[in-house]
């Protein structure tokens, strides 16, 4: 079927391995993503906290620089689990906004343009399609979350020495697991909303609503019932608890409240967070629901029964 021959000929060359075909989607999609100058600018901004983090780690180990700036090493934030947890949380926030910008149109655009039959009439399954679409986000989010955080960890280990690296290896695993859980959650949420709601704006609005409205509702419930158990319905709080658990800073008592009764007797009420296992279970349940919805919506054709 050469251009000049103008005839139909079958393809007889080699084929790519089946396992790698889902990566075709992110390869083509990422090219389009960075065509937007606005998004590229935002994506660059996402690296600023990492720059600050790198500078802080560097300053800790550069006495000359500290002397020039009239700073004492003790005055700087210590480089430990809490330090990395703080920056992991900041990058998690940026990851949310990247997912909000990129996630919603990924599936909805295909549904709106009836493109799914074109994908699924090929040796390409629904699972591969979802994996391909999710990996667009997973790749983008990895580059601003766990990948640079691990590099920071290695940077700190390089400056501090092997003993520090060995004794703090758990920080690396916390960065890795926390980062992957968060970006997986964001990718699943945005893909599900994208598949359910065919319009990008509506899907983006729904994603914002699904994250912020339960958080606000949870705070109201917490205030009324003097607890922190309602955090179980807030994605940010759930993820915060899980990350704290991974970095070893989780405490079930996250607040105290002075309550006076009719006899003006003041008692202190402990505000308890849900146990860690509850937070993990809630996240798993959330992911399972998202997967079920994706399996229901991602089809070549909707069947009207």
């Amino acid at each position: 079927m050469a251009v000049y021959e103008q005839t139909y000929k079958p393809y007889t060359g080699r084929l790519t391995p089946e396992w790698s075909r889902f990566l075709i989607i992110p390869r083509h999609a990422l090219r389009g993503v960075f065509n937007s100058k606005l998004f590229t600018a935002f994506y660059v901004i996402c690296f600023i906290p990492l720059l600050v983090e790198a500078v802080l780690i560097y300053l800790h180990h550069n006495i000359t620089a500290l002397a020039i700036m009239n700073l004492n090493a003790r005055e700087l934030i210590p480089i430990d689990g809490s330090f990395f947890q703080y920056f992991v949380n900041i990058q998690g926030g940026f990851a949310f906004f990247v997912a909000l910008l990129i996630g919603p149109p990924l599936v909805s655009r295909d549904l709106r343009n009836n493109a799914l039959p074109l994908y699924l009439c090929r040796p390409f399954s629904r699972t591969e399609y979802v994996m391909g679409k999710m990996s667009v986000l997973l790749i983008l989010l990895s580059w601003i979350t766990w990948v640079p955080q691990l590099l920071m960890f290695l940077f700190q280990s390089y400056l501090e020495g092997f003993a520090w690296f060995r004794s703090n290896l758990w920080i690396a695993s916390a960065i890795l697991i926390g980062g992957i859980v968060w970006i997986l959650l964001l990718a699943l949420l945005s893909q599900t909303l994208s598949a359910l709601l065919k319009w990008r704006i509506i899907a983006s609005g729904a994603m914002l609503g699904l994250v912020f409205i339960p958080s606000v509702f949870a705070e109201v419930v917490n205030f009324i019932f003097r607890t922190h158990w309602a955090h179980i319905i807030s994605l940010f709080s759930l993820m915060g608890n899980v990350t704290a658990g991974l970095f070893g800073t989780f405490d079930r008592v996250s607040g105290r409240m002075q309550v006076s009764d009719f006899n003006d007797t003041v008692t202190e009420v402990l505000l308890l967070e849900p146990p860690l296992w509850c937070s993990w279970a809630a996240l798993f349940l959330f992911c399972a629901v998202c997967l079920a919805l994706l399996a229901w919506k991602v089809k070549a054709y909707e069947v009207v029964k």
Binding site: M1, A2, V3, Q6, T7, Y8, K9, P10, Y11, T12, G13, R14, L15, T16, E18, R21, I24, H28, G32, R109, D110, R112, N113, N114, A115, P117, L118, Y119, L120, C121, R122, P123, F124, S125, K299, A300, Y301, V303, V304, K305
Partner: protein, 328 residues
């Protein structure tokens, strides 16, 4: 005419000898959406180079194509494409087929060449080969000059051609074309028909063409499968069907018809009365029309009208709609 209560159990086959394995083999294929049965116990082996899928709206044409593509699971029975089962070997089948959907289908914010290349890669072609074939396919369908334009800016006819390009980019052995001429103006339709015929004549691919436009099917297909209410009403070889009716004549006479009929029988013609003074005759080999004039002259019968009647696809279709299932 009342429809028969049950469909035939034996596969319906066109009346010709075949050696090659069937392109599509239907084994009691049934498909239901909830309580609604869309396809009912379809049986038959389809072997043509270009098979026309005909039927009124809602007959199940598109559902049959979607089921063969693996989009809908069969509720009973199964089917095979080139010997691969649609239930168990969908992936192998999809490597061999191309599909041009009926509805507007494309990927937004992409140029045609990017779109067709992506489709080629998803079919398993390496990136460079997919790009090369995307250019070739777009030139082949006549979109060479517009291949860098975004698909959203294409006219309906151009979108149809882009859909055809994505269906053939990987050089499939079987191409499903669902209403490929829908919404096309006459020149664009002619171009599409020409392309389909070229692909058919290349000998490298079989075509299943679903259409409600009889003329399209007549121009492109050598076999037809007519569906009615989810059942096979007719499956036949169009060319053979035409050949068998080559010497089918309609006569209108005045005079002693009895004598004329006896003379016709003596001549060896098959005949049937179709009303007062009207006859249907199938001429046997070696008998020409001039023999009929001679006979009429001998029997003192006037031939008021004589016309060749050949079953067009429209006749076959209409008969299928009247007759029910199983054949002509």
């Amino acid at each position: 005419m009342a429809l028969p209560a049950s469909v035939p159990e034996e596969p319906i086959k066109p009346q010709m000898a075949h050696v090659e394995p069937p392109v599509i083999d239907l084994h009691g294929l049934s498909v239901s959406f909830g309580q609604r049965q869309i396809l009912k116990n379809l049986r038959g082996d389809l072997r043509g180079k270009a098979i026309g899928l005909l039927g009124p709206n809602g007959a199940g044409k598109t559902t049959l194509i979607h089921t063969l593509l693996g989009f809908h699971p069969p509720s009973a029975g199964t089917a095979q494409i080139f010997g691969f089962d649609i239930a168990d070997q969908a992936k192998q089948i999809r490597e061999l087929i191309g599909y041009m959907p009926e509805r507007d289908s494309f990927i937004a914010k992409m140029s045609a060449v990017h779109f067709v290349r992506l489709m080629g890669e998803l079919s398993g072609l390496p990136s460079e080969a997919a790009l090369e074939r995307a250019h070739e396919a777009l030139f082949y369908v006549g979109l060479g000059e517009a291949r860098y334009r975004r698909l959203e800016t294409y006219s309906l006819g151009m979108k149809q051609l882009a859909k055809l390009a994505q269906a053939i980019v990987h050089g499939p052995k079987l191409i499903f074309l669902d209403e490929p001429t829908n919404g096309l103006d006459p020149p664009a339709r002619l171009r599409m028909i020409k392309l389909i015929r070229e692909i058919r004549d290349s000998g490298h691919a079989h075509i299943v063409l679903s259409s409600h436009l009889l003329l399209d099917v007549e121009e492109c297909c050598d076999e037809i499968l007519i569906l009615r209410d989810g059942q096979i009403a007719v499956y036949c070889n169009l060319e053979e069907e035409r050949k068998s009716n080559r010497k089918f004549l309609m006569l209108e006479t005045r005079g002693d018809q009895e004598k004329f009929i006896k003379a016709l029988a003596k001549l060896g013609c098959e005949y049937a009365l179709s009303g007062d003074h009207r006859l249907k005759i199938v001429l046997q080999e070696g008998i020409e029309v001039r023999d009929l004039y001679r006979l009429a002259d001998e029997e003192q019968v006037q031939l008021r009208r004589l016309s060749y009647k050949r079953d067009s696809l429209e006749d076959i279709f209409l008969k299928a709609m009247e007759n029910g299932y199983g054949g002509l």
